[in-house]
């Protein structure tokens, strides 16, 4: 019984993804091809990375609303360093990643040390990161550095046929594999799950709860910065209005992927399916042609609703807090 309720949201999501894939393949010619599915991964690589970081935060029962802005700030800083300061990519990217780590760690420290609510701290972080983008520049900075564009356009061929993936898709998969390892085979991962289950019990069990709390937001900051780097591969520009509303997409992907919002239950692999589900909705709406783009928002909202209600129905234990 316990087993069922734990895997049900994830199973529901995988079922939904398969149904939509079959529906798309039957309805539209050209929908079903290996490349079309690889494109789902290529186009949403940054979302996979950001949502992976978000999964850990939500597993502890917290939330990180700053991810979209941190992605935007990373694109901005990267574009500024590479384009205007003519830094080498080998220096610029680590600097951006470190900035994301520092930003996440600061928010995590505020949340842990002063017992502030995660949503309000990260909301302020969201403001701050967007504002900092505009301090750098109000306009979009396009990246024309040849090494950079080469990296962005690099395609890694899979086997003999035409199917290929981009560097960003490979990065996304690496992050995902690392995240699965961290979640299930390290002390940090076990602490994250234990905290989501019951923070007091986790503390009483002697798990390093305060440290993990800070680290979870640090990890999310790192993933957002890496997501920002991957986003520049995709957009080849830095702009303060990049990735507006990305935090909602990331949360939606995590929830649809079967992670309980109250924390403690969920899988990083589920988040991948959550992102792919969001991606396939966009493809379906694009292939249909007659539906306008705002239907995407409405459908994502409706899905979020259905999965939230599903969670409540299948939640085995009483709501905490």
């Amino acid at each position: 019984m316990k087993w069922q309720s734990r895997y049900l949201p994830l199973a529901a999501n995988m079922g939904l993804f398969s149904v939509m894939a079959v529906f798309g393949s039957v309805s539209y010619t050209g929908f079903f091809s290996v490349q079309a599915f690889l494109n789902l991964l290529i186009d949403n690589a940054f979302l996979v990375i950001v949502a992976t970081g978000m999964t850990f935060v939500i597993l502890t029962g917290g939330i990180d609303l700053s991810v979209g802005s941190v992605v935007a700030l990373s694109t901005m800083v990267l574009a500024e360093l590479v384009e205007r300061q003519h830094w080498s990519i080998a220096f610029a990217i680590p600097v951006v990643l470190f900035m994301g780590i520092a930003f996440g760690a600061l928010m995590g420290w505020l949340i842990q040390r002063f017992r502030l609510q995660p949503f309000i701290v990260t909301l302020a972080g969201m403001f701050l990161a967007r504002g900092l983008c505009y301090l750098i520049s109000i306009d979009s900075i396009s990246i024309t550095d040849p090494t950079y564009t080469d990296l962005a356009q690099m395609r890694i061929s899979l086997g003999s046929d035409a199917a290929a993936v981009s560097l960003s898709a490979v990065l996304a998969l690496l992050v995902l594999i690392a995240a699965v390892f961290v979640a299930h085979f390290t002390e940090f991962g076990r602490t994250v799950y234990a905290m989501g289950g019951n923070q007091h019990s986790a503390t009483l069990m002697g798990l390093p709860v305060p440290r993990t709390m800070v680290l979870v937001y640090t990890l999310s900051g790192f993933c957002s910065a890496l997501g920002g780097v991957v986003f520049t591969f995709y957009m080849l520009s830095g702009y303060g209005l990049h990735a507006v509303g990305l935090e909602l997409d990331a949360i939606a992907a995590v929830v649809i992927g079967g992670t309980l919002l109250s924390g403690g239950i969920g899988y990083v692999a589920g988040t991948l399916f959550g992102v792919l589900t969001l991606g396939i909705i966009q493809s379906l709406i694009m292939f249909d042609g007659s539906l306008s783009s705002w239907w995407t928002r409405i459908v994502i909202g409706a899905l979020l609703f259905v999965f939230c209600v599903l969670q409540r129905v299948f939640e085995a234990r009483p709501q905490s807090g």
Binding site: I63, L110, R113, F114, R115, L116, Q117, F119, I120, V121, L123, A124, G125, M126, F127, L128, R130, G131, L132, Y134, L135, I138, G240, G245, L248, I251, A252, V255, L261, S262, S292, S293, W294, W295, T296, R297, I298, I300, G301, A302, L304, F305, C308, V309, R312, Q319
Partner: protein, 344 residues
């Protein structure tokens, strides 16, 4: 003196005064009021007019936060209500016997009624998700925040709907007794709400729910009913704000109307001294909070820095305010000061 020092509105009022003083120093004509075209004219009046929608949304948000909730869908509800009203009024120029006159698509009261009804339904939806299904408030309202913009764009067909019906403009641009009409709407809602929470048990119930929902329920407070009503009311105030905004700019943009309004409203409420953890709340404080935000925006414009910097300033203010509200931070600060002083 002691009573003044402990008054909950002391800090918000001081903050507002400080910003006004800064404004006056930077802009010598700040306090100058003129009587022009039958109404008062000046920077202060402008701030009051522009702050009115935020005041309304903050009032609704205050009650939601007081019950330990949060509503991040207000921006989307503003857009939906603005779109519905603008679409139903529309307006065309009709020349009748050589006299041009504007005719609305539907009668204006009907359009306003429909827009407000839709806004209340949005609020009810949030309230039911929170109180009946038991979702966390931030997630429950996130759903409408995501879908709401889509719905608003669906209503307007993805375009900016322009209104050509003069009577509708009165709400956002008109003046009554020399003051902006929008201000009167905000104050009327405030007075009604103030009477409701201070002259009936409602205020007490809301505080009880915010302090301890389970205890309130055991004490016989109809917690679920009150929660649903509070969210519905928040939807209503967002709806009115949407009407004022669309009337002010004479159009409705499903994508951008009320953008980031939820953040401003939460900021206004916290600045006004309402605790984010629920319980203690101050309606007058939220009104002052909304004025602080609008005055701050006007300061930033008058300094001449890009308005986008506003975000950094607001973020810093939120950080400071939430740290001041944290008991843990005050304790740390106290220890820090105490330890530093002790060797003396």
């Amino acid at each position: 003196m002691r009573r003044i020092r402990n008054h909950p509105l002391l800090w918000p009022v001081l903050t507002l005064l400080l910003i006004l003083v800064v404004n006056a120093t930077l802009n010598p004509g700040f306090w100058k009021l003129q009587w022009r075209d039958g109404h008062l004219y000046g920077s202060v009046i402008d701030i009051l007019n522009r702050a009115a929608p935020l005041m309304l949304v903050s009032l609704g948000m205050t009650l939601v936060i007081a019950t330990r909730g949060i509503d991040i869908s207000v921006g989307a509800v503003v857009a939906i209500s603005a779109s519905v009203a603008a679409l139903m009024i529309g307006g065309t120029l009709v020349i009748h016997d050589g006299v041009p006159s504007y005719v609305s698509r539907y009668p204006m009261p009907l359009a306003i009624g429909c827009a407000l009804l839709v806004a209340v339904v949005c609020g009810l939806w949030n309230g039911l998700l929170v109180a009946k299904i038991g979702l966390q408030p931030i997630i429950a309202t996130l759903i409408l925040m995501v879908a709401g913009r889509g719905i608003a764009q669906l209503v307007t067909g993805g375009q900016i709907v322009t209104v050509y019906y003069a009577p509708y403009f009165y709400m956002g641009n008109g003046y009554l007794w020399g003051l902006p009409f929008a201000l009167f709407i905000a104050l009327a809602v405030y007075v009604l709400l103030y009477c409701a929470v201070s002259h009936t048990a409602l205020g007490l119930f809301i505080q009880a729910i915010g302090i301890n929902p389970s205890a309130a329920r055991l004490a016989g407070v109809k917690q679920r009913l009150i929660s649903v009503c509070v969210y519905a009311f928040c939807g209503l105030t967002a709806g009115i704000a949407g009407l004022i905004i669309s009337s002010n700019v004479k159009s409705a943009d499903g994508n951008n109307a009320g953008n980031l309004m939820e953040l401003d409203a939460i900021l206004a409420v916290t600045l006004g001294g309402t605790l984010l953890t629920g319980g203690r709340f101050s309606l007058a404080g939220s009104l002052i909070g909304a004025l602080i935000i609008q005055a701050l925006t006007s300061t930033i414009y008058s300094i001449g820095v890009p308005p986008e910097i506003n975000l950094v300033v607001k973020a810093s203010v939120v950080f400071v305010v939430m740290l001041m509200q944290s008991a843990e931070f005050r304790r740390t600060l106290h220890t820090w000061v105490f330890v530093r002083r002790s060797p003396l």
